[in-house]
């Protein structure tokens, strides 16, 4: 089976789905001739032409707004926002429109689209190139939020997103783009949205992570009997898998790189408190970014959760 990195896996998903479904068109800044700043869309212009691979003006709200219009018309647009930190001008389009056309029109119109954005810290890029604001989108009823943690799930999740009838925010951890190589098959396979996966079974503690933190969690916790849950879809998240694992281990650590306050860990912790407090032996702990803007390269490792912090949280919980 071919071994691929995440860039290649996402490119392959786009290519195969575009061949299968002529509703799919790509639009964004530099996605055409340049193949995207991370080369995710490399070669697609040559295969599908300017009609379907659309270089746009530099206008994030316009890109998402146009994608909304295309989706309303019956296409399946994939809008690329060059870095997640540039998506803020498009919040209005996502929250006021993409997420709401279906309910606003009581199902008469809908907005099937995918917004792809590279995200997360650790690539020595300038300010606003390393944001992890995934929780904002989880607070928008009407959009789904998906975060792959490696090449195999990236392809399968993107295929599911491209077949979903509703808007999907697809966040690609930049730190992992070329870090992990694994077997990624050609052809059709879907990793379903809304389902977490147990990456490693264990019995002492449940550690929940997603995106770029998953790789750190897995590496950091090798000596522990930890059950590691890769959330994959943040909204709607797989409560069943999370709660089953919590019931089994009685201890929970949530790891995310976004700032702690109102990060997605807060929702997980609240749900666990509401649903499973009687099976807990100790507090739900969060290992998260501090409540500061993500710093530039020289200080970023003081921001990102690292092995020491992840292990310390697990050690603390194991005392209960």
């Amino acid at each position: 089976m071919p071994v691929r990195n995440m860039v290649q896996a996402i490119n392959l998903a786009l290519r195969e789905e575009m061949e299968r479904d002529d509703r799919i068109v790509l639009l964004g800044e530099d996605v055409g001739k340049d193949g995207g700043v991370f080369r995710i869309t490399e070669g697609l212009l040559e295969m599908f032409g300017e009609e379907r691979i659309i270089d746009t003006p530099l206008a994030e709200s316009g890109i998402v707004g146009a994608a909304v219009g295309m989706a309303l018309y019956g296409l399946m647009p994939v809008a690329e926002i060059q870095f997640l930190g540039f998506i803020y001008p498009a919040f209005d389009q996502i929250f006021s429109h993409a997420a709401r056309y279906r309910s606003r029109s009581r199902g008469r119109f809908s907005c099937p689209l995918v917004i792809r954005a590279p995200y997360g810290a650790g690539i020595k890029a300038p300010e606003l190139h390393e944001e992890s604001c995934e929780a904002f989108f989880c607070h928008m009823p009407g959009v789904k939020v998906v975060v792959p943690s490696g090449p195999y799930v990236a392809k399968g999740l993107l295929i599911s997103a491209l077949r979903d009838p509703d808007p999907v925010i697809f966040l690609e951890p930049t730190r992992l783009y070329r870090m992990i190589r694994e077997e990624v098959p050609d052809g059709d396979y879907a990793v379903p949205l809304g389902q977490a996966r147990i990456v490693r079974e264990g019995s002492d503690v449940t550690v929940i992570a997603w995106g770029s933190m998953l790789e750190r969690v897995v590496k950091s916790l090798e000596p522990y009997d930890a059950e590691i849950v890769d959330l994959l879809t943040l909204s709607p998240f797989d409560e069943e898998t999370v709660l089953r694992s919590v019931a089994k281990t009685g201890r929970v650590v949530i790891v995310h790189e976004a700032p702690r306050t109102c990060g997605f860990g807060a929702e997980l912790a609240a749900t666990i408190a509401e649903e499973a407090i009687l099976s807990l032996r100790g507090p739900v702990l969060r290992v998260a970014g501090p409540d500061v803007p993500v710093p530039l390269a020289k200080l970023v490792e003081h921001y990102l959760p690292d092995a020491a912090r992840i292990r310390a949280a697990v050690e603390e919980l194991l005392r209960y």
Binding site: V25, E51, R52, I54, T56, P57, A59, S61, G62, V64, G65, A66, A67, V68, G69, M70, A71, L72, Y73, G74, L75, P77, P89, D92, Q93, S96, H97, Y101, R102, S103, R104, S105, R106, G107, R108, F109, S110, P141, G142, K144, P165, D166, G194, P236, E239, E240, A270, T271, E274, E275
Partner: protein, 356 residues
């Protein structure tokens, strides 16, 4: 090196029918007697809907409502040029367009009474839901036009918005993309001179709103928005251009909001009664009536019969709206996603706190 003029840009304005009902015969659009009477009846129906909506609001039977009083020609005249297959992206003050396109009036009453089911556009019409967030639907029209071109559908897309919307970023981003891709889209600005309390002069220092199109590489034209023939003709030509690959057009309908911003507003706080009285003299419906009378198409009996017919239509729409089955709690969950999430299912089936 000489200093030279490298570009000059004319801005045109179209006037066909004056306030006394006199028309420039050389500019009159090709409308039959039946068409012209139909236009008149749609204007009268739009105003009647508006008047009824205002009284229903005062009686507490509908919620906040934005009046179109004075803007009927700008809305009806432009919509009259559209085909049913065209896609229309309205703002929240486009009742005249809805009336002219044949959108069911009972649905409009229901929407303004706070029932989302009023935005379920009937099959066969491509009118998108009312956009409350000012100007943010302009890029949607652009995207729909991109999709129509990709599908090779011979349609045009129209976006309606007001003078306030021309200050928004999405106006710029949408117009810019429409120009870059030469899309089959027509932008119709209802310049009614007021964005709630902020006058047109505070929206832009530009001499006209129409000229903003120039910077995006396509034509902008100002029309007398109270002249239904001028609005109709400019829209007809813009649609022809769009359908024949000539790209977008921007039409500024120079008109006036006679009423308050909405039923929740008091315009006397910020503008003079004299200004409003001046604009009332340029009433779009009265001038068409005078035109029809001069042509011998209008009589007192016809007017009486029309008003009677119009009242029946409105009465019937109100009856239908108010006798619709009440919306149920579960409906708020049904259309967020195509399929409910597990949490939504629990929220739908249980009480408000059954979400966890």
């Amino acid at each position: 090196m000489p200093r030279s003029v490298i570009e000059t840009f004319p801005v045109t304005r179209l006037d066909i029918l004056d306030a006394e009902g006199n028309a420039d015969e050389t500019l009159l659009p090709p409308l039959s007697r039946e068409d012209t009477l139909r236009l008149y009846e749609l204007l009268v129906l739009s105003r009647a809907f508006d008047g009824r909506a205002l009284s229903l609001q005062r009686e507490g039977r509908i919620g906040t409502y934005p009046s179109i009083l004075g803007q009927e020609a700008a809305q009806v005249g432009s919509a009259f040029a559209l085909e049913k297959s065209d896609w229309v992206f309205p703002s929240f003050r486009e009742t005249g367009m809805h009336v002219a396109m044949g959108y069911p009036l009972d649905l409009l009453f229901r929407y303004w009474a706070g029932d989302e089911r009023g935005l379920v556009t009937p099959e066969g019409l491509n009118i998108l839901p009312v956009c409350v967030s000012v100007g943010t639907h302009i890029p949607h029209a652009v995207g729909a036009a991109m999709a129509a071109r990709y599908r090779k559908d011979p349609i045009a897309v129209v976006a309606y918005f007001g003078d306030g919307a021309t200050s928004k970023g999405d106006f710029h981003e949408g117009f810019n993309m429409a120009g870059v891709y030469r899309l089959p889209v027509v932008f119709i600005c209802q310049n009614n001179q007021w964005a709630i309390s902020v006058p047109r002069g505070r929206q832009t220092a530009a001499a006209t709103i129409a000229q903003k199109a120039i910077a995006y590489g396509f034509e902008g034209v100002q029309v007398d928005g109270n002249d239904v023939f001028a609005v109709y003709d400019a829209t007809r030509q813009a649609l022809e251009r769009a359908r024949s690959g000539g790209g977008p057009t921007f039409i500024e309908c120079f008109t006036y909001r006679i009423s308050h911003h909405t039923t929740a507003d008091d315009a006397d706080r910020y503008r003079s009664v004299d200004e409003v009285e001046e604009w009332k003299k340029r009433d779009p419906i009265e001038r068409l009536r005078r035109f029809l009378e001069k042509r011998g198409f209008w009589t007192v009996e016809y007017q009486r019969e029309l008003e009677h017919r119009t009242r029946d239509t409105i009465d019937q729409a109100v009856r239908e709206a108010e006798s619709a089955a009440p919306a149920e709690r579960r409906e708020i969950f049904l259309s967020v996603f195509e399929k409910r999430t597990p949490r939504q299912i629990r929220e739908m089936e249980g009480g408000a706190d059954a979400g966890a």
